[in-house]
């Protein structure tokens, strides 16, 4: 998808007439199209059924569950009893941080409950997403530009760069845990005595460093794919016209790679907003490194229904972010497609 995006606007005049849709849609073809449509529906059905089983059903179940109370304890028998309908109490537990009070009713969630951590976890999640994606984009771009050049051993570099991405996140997290241990390589190498996982900012930076190390190659490859679709002639023409290297980068590379870049950033942002393994293993969520996903997992052990509410909230938060991105991106895409259609 990303590879397709780059060149279109450039090549549009060349391939202009778009020989893809040859025949105009005549009346006689309606039947054929109807048959085709029916066939298509049949062929798509298995996929759609599979998707509804593995995606739609769990989502609906989660939403239904989020309106159920978690099991409470019957003081007489000491056994759990079904909670019954909850209204919005699972949601207010998170958003307004209202926890159940001992005598009935609710109180502000005391520190030490998961409810009290919702907003700080949301903040942490966005902080991680913003910082890691920004760093990864810059570093990834730089790596992509280097990899796009022709030099001896280029394929080796490209393969080597992918190594951090290929290591499972849990393993990465363990590796960095050893590096950031008090007696670990990190402190030994720089002759420091930082409690990497023991205080707020070092812990956050530990997570960010590990995440950037791991996912920059992914960014680099996506951007590289975009870069390679830019035809060399454009650069040559610019050179002939006397454009400087910076001008060529700003006026040609950036706009032409932007569609691929935006897709890469979107993917990474959505991914970063679900960050779980790295902070979970590195810090256990201590020192303000609890992300929303960690909070969900912690809550699952305490009660499924409140966890369902939290994951629904997380869903909407990420959805809004994705929506903003797609609108932002979509403007570009729609414009190009619109132009294409106009020509047809």
């Amino acid at each position: 998808m990303a590879t397709e995006v780059g060149p279109t606007s450039v090549k549009a005049p060349a391939s202009g007439g778009a020989p893809i849709h040859h025949a105009p849609k005549g009346v006689g073809e309606d039947n054929r199209i109807a048959t085709q449509g029916r066939w298509a529906a049949w062929l798509l059905a298995p996929t759609i059924i599979a998707l509804s089983v593995v995606i739609v059903y769990p989502i609906i179940t989660a939403i239904v569950m989020s309106f159920q109370k978690d099991a409470g304890l019957d003081p007489a028998t000491g056994l759990f009893t079904e909670g019954g309908p909850a209204g919005f109490s699972n949601y207010t537990n998170w958003i307004f941080q209202q926890c159940p009070a001992p005598g009935g009713g609710t109180v502000d969630c005391p520190p030490g409950t998961l409810g009290a951590q919702f907003w700080s976890a949301t903040g942490t999640t966005f902080f991680f997403a913003a910082v890691t994606v920004a760093l990864e984009t810059v570093l990834g771009f730089w790596m992509a530009v280097i990899m796009a050049r022709a030099f001896r051993g280029r394929s080796l570099v490209r393969a080597a760069v992918l190594v951090p991405w290929a290591i499972p996140t849990a393993v990465t997290a363990k590796l960095w845990l050893f590096i950031f241990a008090f007696e670990g390589i990190g402190n030994k190498l720089f002759n420091t005595a930082v409690l990497w996982t023991g205080s707020e900012w070092p812990a956050r930076w530990a997570v960010i460093i590990a995440d950037v190390w791991k996912t920059t190659p992914f960014m680099a490859l996506l951007i590289l794919a975009g870069l390679q679709m830019i035809p060399a002639e454009v650069y040559e023409a610019a050179k002939v016209d006397g454009a400087s290297a910076w001008q060529r980068f700003r006026m040609i590379t950036l706009p032409l790679v932007k569609p691929a870049l935006m897709v890469a950033i979107l993917f990474r942002t959505l991914d970063a907003l679900r960050m779980f393994d790295l902070p979970y293993i590195l810090t256990g969520g201590a020192n303000n490194t609890t992300t929303l996903s960690i909070l969900v997992i912690n809550q699952i052990r305490q009660g499924f229904n409140a966890a369902a509410a939290l994951s629904t909230i997380t869903f909407f938060i990420i959805f809004i972010v994705a929506f903003i991105f797609v609108r932002f991106l979509g403007a570009n895409v729609v414009e190009q497609t619109g132009a294409g259609k106009g020509k047809k």
Binding site: E183, T283, N287, A308
Partner: protein
């Protein structure tokens, strides 16, 4: 070009859906099993025993032995992962599905109350009664909920205070005594004391020990939080003061079991609170600097031995089992002296039978047994409550803030109290 238009939303929706569907999997009913508890009591036949990864290969030989003696009631071993959280979640899923295939399950002491309150464990009374008179009492308490035994104690574990024999001729008996010895550590340029103070389950263990050893308790007999006492405050304050004064080194808030063992073995600590497994490694590992000077004693308390948190596992029968008579026999088999001895020698698992701690042959092999016996006899189970996951989080969160000095001891205990109250208020 059209496909490009479509791909983005689809891909986006896909990613989003994954975040949500990953969380929607669990759920379902919570109660039930009360009828099931009266069924299958006389059932005999093949059963399954479920346990976490059998690292030291003790379970298979035992089951082979049982199977040879009971050809019609064979036991199949289902091995889970070696991660406690995953074992817990696996058991929850199977119990929720009322799986009759999970006949006997090995349950961590801190899960017993939760599973019992969900009605998933067969009460071990009447027809299913089990004789526990030979077992050390705290191990039985940890397997009980509301006065009923729900599981057979299978293995135990308790904290031990390791110390440097070369630097401390007589080990401390109380916390204050230990703190007064910290000048020795200072003159040797080492840390004085450490346990496990990273924010994880180990911190609950250490904080409960501090509170219990000072005579306090996290929960009272009725399972209500009881942290606003002078004793609880004194216990928590011990830790906080020691950390502020530097007697507990500052890196200790990043220590789990292994990091603290490493520090002690490298000669950087005078006293270490840890589990019995340290003994073997500290005396045999080539890099250990404490090989010949390793001393062991009971945890220090207020006026005598402290109250260790209890570890270990119990074997419970699922209410959904169809062959409960066989299952009960198997539980008895797991707690015989012979089996317990085998667990201790082959798997270094602390026995639940008091008599074995005085067994000369065993003590020769595992010299920490006498100390461990004191530890376990004085041990307090970690808070026994069906809301354990919430309780342990409340303790970790607030104890961590208190130790780091971000909160006063009073505020931390009051927040702990309120959080536990809120968790057990249900909704």
């Amino acid at each position: 070009m059209k496909t490009r238009n479509l791909l983005l939303p689809i891909a986006t929706a896909g990613v989003l859906a994954m975040t949500l569907s990953a969380c929607g999997g669990g759920g379902g009913g919570t109660t039930g099993g009360n009828d099931a508890a009266s069924q299958g009591l006389d059932g005999r036949g093949p059963i399954t025993y479920v346990q976490g990864k059998d690292n030291s290969n003790v379970v298979r030989p035992l089951i082979d032995k049982w199977n040879a003696a009971h050809p019609n009631e064979k036991v199949t071993f289902k091995e889970q992962t070696d991660q406690a959280d995953q074992q817990h979640d696996d058991l929850v899923q199977h119990f929720q599905a009322k799986d009759p295939g999970y006949d006997v399950a090995s349950v961590d002491v801190v899960w017993t109350a939760e599973f019992a309150a969900k009605g998933w464990l067969q009460p071990l009374k009447d027809k299913m009664a089990l004789d526990t008179s030979a077992m050390i009492k705290p191990t039985v308490d940890a397997a009980s909920y509301k006065g009923t035994l729900y599981a057979a104690p299978e293995s135990s574990d308790g904290g031990i205070l390791y110390y440097r024999k070369d630097l401390v001729p007589t080990p401390p008996k109380t916390w204050d005594e230990m703190m007064s010895m910290c000048s020795v550590a200072k003159s040797h340029n080492m840390g004085c004391y450490s346990g496990q103070f990273k924010k994880y389950e180990g911190l609950t263990v250490n904080a409960s020990e501090a509170i219990n050893s000072a005579g306090g308790a996290v929960l009272d007999e009725n399972g209500k939080p009881n942290l606003l006492t002078a004793e609880a405050k004194a216990g928590m304050a011990n830790l906080v003061k020691a950390y502020a004064d530097g007697e507990i080194p500052k890196e200790a808030i990043t220590f789990q079991e292994e990091e603290s063992r490493q520090a002690f073995q490298d000669g950087k600590l005078l006293f270490l609170r840890n589990w019995p497994y340290v003994y073997n490694l500290a005396t045999t590992e080539g890099s250990s600097k404490v090989k010949d000077v390793l001393g062991m004693t009971a945890l220090p308390g207020k006026a005598g031995p402290g109250a260790s948190s209890l570890g270990g596992h119990s074997a419970a029968v699922s209410v959904y089992s169809k062959n409960k008579a066989t299952a009960l026999d198997f539980l008895k088999f797991l707690t015989t002296e012979e089996t317990q001895k085998f667990f201790a020698t082959k798997g270094s698992l602390a026995p639940v039978l008091g008599s074995l701690y005085d067994d000369k042959e065993l003590v020769a092999k595992l010299p920490y047994l006498p100390v461990l016996k004191t530890s376990i006899e004085n041990a307090k189970p970690r808070p026994v409550t069906p809301f354990y996951p919430a309780v342990t989080k409340a303790i970790q969160e607030n104890a961590y803030s208190a130790i780091k000095g971000e909160k006063t001891v009073d505020a931390a205990l009051s927040d702990m109290q309120k959080s536990i109250e809120s968790a057990s208020a249900g909704q």
